[in-house]
Symmetry: C2
Subunit: 335 residues, 2 copies
């Protein structure tokens, strides 16, 4: 197996141990199963807590966004598998600073079910929760059934904006509202060039032909909307942007932040070439681009490919996006 | 070809155009061939300039370290090819703030030759230069001929420390001395699991068998010291650390910063598992670890594999490493 790991069944726990060994001054691992990542400093009294959760294998998503100006906690599942409701509940409890907890996570069946149960458990202990599900992937369902869409890299913008809203002292509904507003203006779509290898399987669980590209594939290898012959960077950028703009119309004078997110194996040089192409197209429409996010923000282990996320900004969203945020895996200090 | 690019011959220029479009507030491209990357703000009057250069395909190396607290300029070559001496000379000229320019770059034949010529050209124009070559890769030559070693990820520590020394107002010899001191305490060694694809070739230029790992392979695919059957993460960490420690002895009470650098396709999870293993081994020796660098700092496009760099710190090096530094591709704000 071409992975630099030890026993596959230790993959997640050793990764978490590595994180604590590297970043123990800022992050800690808690929970009965050792699957809750929290800020070392704990929840801020009087600030709304924000938590997420999901399967492993997507770093920096999800736990990489636990830190100042962002999330308070993350429930960590096995590779591509939802964490348990018990783990989520322990996390919610740990992240309540007295003003309630926003659960902000990707729209996947297992996560939805477990978070719903965890919120019920929290309710029994009089911890207020609110839920916002990220469903930014335009490829995963048509506009008419947008609520069925999966959550992908766009969640990073939602984490950032909700975190800044909580830092401003907004209440639970206000923070949830900021997240919803961010997501209403955020769309993502991706392409995949190669599969990824699950540690416990040891070989690719699906395949993409050498001369083909899969449009709209999900970050767990969910089938995309079509398979096409391999195309060049400008064509990839143009295709993804057109699908996004069909869903999120932009006009001259609009301001956006664009994320070009590598899924794992795609070189940074290629992400920059795609950013260039998007910048040319959007500039031609009179749209201005601020705070570029070019790099790996939400991956699928060693999958080759990328996603493009566009968030349309107004003054409020822009200010929240600009507010300081820092974790060992993300900072906007240099964006 | 499974690369998201346009015409292969446009790869470098489109990448640079992407950088200017994304980060034009901080970086600019100059030079007759458009292959010099500079800080938008230009050289700081009265500060020693620091420059580097090398082939493309290694982002964030080299140009990703142009920015505050780090480098003033970078000469950009074609993929895996040295920039021209003319480009280097233009860069040196642009980066002289009146106190001379340190050329700090990897020890490769073409780069050595061209930087030497560029420094001669600078000398004709009465620009003082100093040269420090990075030769941190222990796999590339035995200790007795350490001057023949190649420069790899350890150069990032040298960039950082030299940049901080220049910010302190040290003179040219003082900044060169800081870089030399950093490098005397820095060793790197890597493993490769897969080749990478040059845009103009379109297929891998060498191969590694599915069940094998190449120990000590260079970042351009230079042959390593041996090919072994695939091994687990602890074995990789232990092997790399033992080769590094044979060359850079550490004792109880020593303090180091460790970089686990992904070469392109290796997931962040796996880098953290290797960091964990190194942390356990070094802690057992009584060595303490500060300022972890886990991520992609010096890549070979989509090559799978990683390198480990250890820098032994004293109070001076630690302070220089901690001093603020920020580019669009690197910040130590969250390290």
């Amino acid at each position: 197996m071409k992975k630099i790991i030890n026993k596959p069944e230790d993959f997640v726990d050793e990764m978490l141990d590595g994180i604590v060994r590297a970043y123990g001054d800022r992050l800690k691992v808690a929970g009965e199963q050792g699957r809750v990542v929290l800020r070392s400093s704990g929840p801020k009294k009087g600030r709304v807590g924000i938590v997420t959760g999901g399967g492993s294998g997507h770093l920096p998503v999800f736990l990489g966004y636990v830190g100042s100006g962002l999330l308070d906690g993350c429930a960590v599942g096995n590779v591509f598998a939802s964490p348990s409701s018990q783990t989520m509940f322990e996390m919610i409890k740990s992240c309540d600073g007295g003003k309630g907890v926003l659960c902000l996570y990707g729209n996947y069946g297992g996560d939805n079910l477990n978070f719903d149960m965890a919120c019920e458990m929290a309710d029994f202990e009089d911890i207020k929760t609110a839920t916002v599900r990220v469903a930014d992937d335009v490829a995963s369902s048509p506009r008419e059934t947008a609520e069925k869409r999966r959550g992908v890299a766009g969640m990073v913008y939602a984490f950032k904006i909700a975190g800044a809203a909580a830092d401003e002292g907004r209440d639970l509904e206000g923070v949830a509202q900021a997240a919803r507003k961010a997501l209403a203006s955020t769309r993502t779509m991706g392409v995949a060039l190669s599969p990824c290898i699950l540690p416990q399987v040891g070989k690719p669980t699906f395949s993409i032909k050498d001369d083909e590209i899969e449009i709209g594939m999900g970050i767990h290898g969910e089938p995309g909307i079509e398979v096409r012959p391999m195309m060049d960077a400008d064509a990839v950028a143009s295709l993804l942007l057109s699908k996004i703009l069909a869903d999120l119309p932009l006009a001259s004078g609009d301001e956006v932040s664009v994320m070009v997110n590598g899924l794992g194996a795609t070189p940074l040089e290629e992400l920059l070439i795609v950013y260039r192409s998007l910048h040319i197209s959007l500039s031609a429409l009179g749209v201005s681009l601020v705070m570029p996010h070019v790099g790996e923000f939400a991956t699928s282990m060693e999958m080759a490919g990328l996603s493009v996320t566009v968030i349309k900004l107004d003054a409020e969203l822009k200010a929240l996006l600009r507010a300081p945020a820092s974790t060992p895996f993300y900072t906007n200090e240099n964006k």
